[in-house]
Symmetry: C2
Subunit: 227 residues, 2 copies
Amino acid sequence: MTTTGAGRPRLSTRKRPGATARDEILDAAAEFFTTGGFTTTSTRMIADAVGIRQASLYHHFANKEDLLAALLVETVTSPVAFAQQLSESEEPATVRMYALTWFDAHQLATSRWNLGALYLLPELRTERFEPFRAQRRILMDLYTEFAEDALVQIDPRRDVDIRTAQLPFRLVETVINTRSDVEAESAGTPPSPDVIADAAMRVLGWTGSIDELTSRTTTLIAEYAER
Amino acid sequence: MTTTGAGRPRLSTRKRPGATARDEILDAAAEFFTTGGFTTTSTRMIADAVGIRQASLYHHFANKEDLLAALLVETVTSPVAFAQQLSESEEPATVRMYALTWFDAHQLATSRWNLGALYLLPELRTERFEPFRAQRRILMDLYTEFAEDALVQIDPRRDVDIRTAQLPFRLVETVINTRSDVEAESAGTPPSPDVIADAAMRVLGWTGSIDELTSRTTTLIAEYAER
């Protein structure tokens, strides 16, 4: 029988995906937050959905805010790690830009729950979520750095416009909105990482072939996965 | 002395912008919903902020959901009207596309409250908000139609990819996220309708000058404003 960290026997067999009780709690919280709303979800509802006592949940997370903070940090951890690997590589700026937008759009499009839909909650502006916001700013800054380098690579004579350099990050975030509309009312076509990454390059003025960027990206993502 | 529709004298002089008590109520609700959150706001808080009795508020709106529905519909009313005017015009598809993205990005960037930040609330998936969602789908469909026509105009030999045709609508929505980040933590540069509309055209494959599109857009918006 699986036991929780608190040492209590589980009330029932595993109800949610996840290797540990902590993962199951996070999965249930993610479902409630994205489908019912953060404010209307209680830790009791989450514990019930996992099949554990509320006291066992509190062994892992002090409150709902801790759960939301853990879930949000997860949405930026892997793109930040991949972007930092790219940043240290010798790849041309256009390859770094294409690889990051493709990787991040792909993870936002395929994650089990559309957690990015919670990014605009006014609740996230409190001190409790500063660690998440700090990680997200790091990601945003890496995007902007790659975009500025790519703008210079594509057309060295052009003045770099910071508002254009901000667009690849924002284009990737559109995966969240598209996914939300598709899930809520079957409106529109699911987001495609290929189309998003292609669009990010065109916005920066790239008019060449995308093929050389995609083949390098495949290699870079394979290297990242093997680390 | 100004009186509410319910005929009660106002408790105090006007506290909020708005030509009528109804407008003042909407303005206060928009501030609370976008800065504190929808769930944590009560009609009592809104009535107090306007300086009216709760009973007077109920004369205009039956509940919080009615207030949110009215505010959300307002965010799509003018872009839908402008898009329909463009749809009936003889303008080339690229002009229609540029004009709509510029107009809509501009209104989202300059509206008093960033109400688009509420679009992803799970609460909006209920029946109560179907009229808003229907209007938003009409707008989305007009965007897609203009984008498909523009793709054909720009390169008649290319197959039209619906996922690319969806991007101008999504690019305009990024105004909401950019604005939210700038307001919440002074991160990034405020959104620019020029940059967004330019990006929408590049995503569709436009590599020509933007000048001819901007000058037509200025005329079209002036005509719309004079209707």
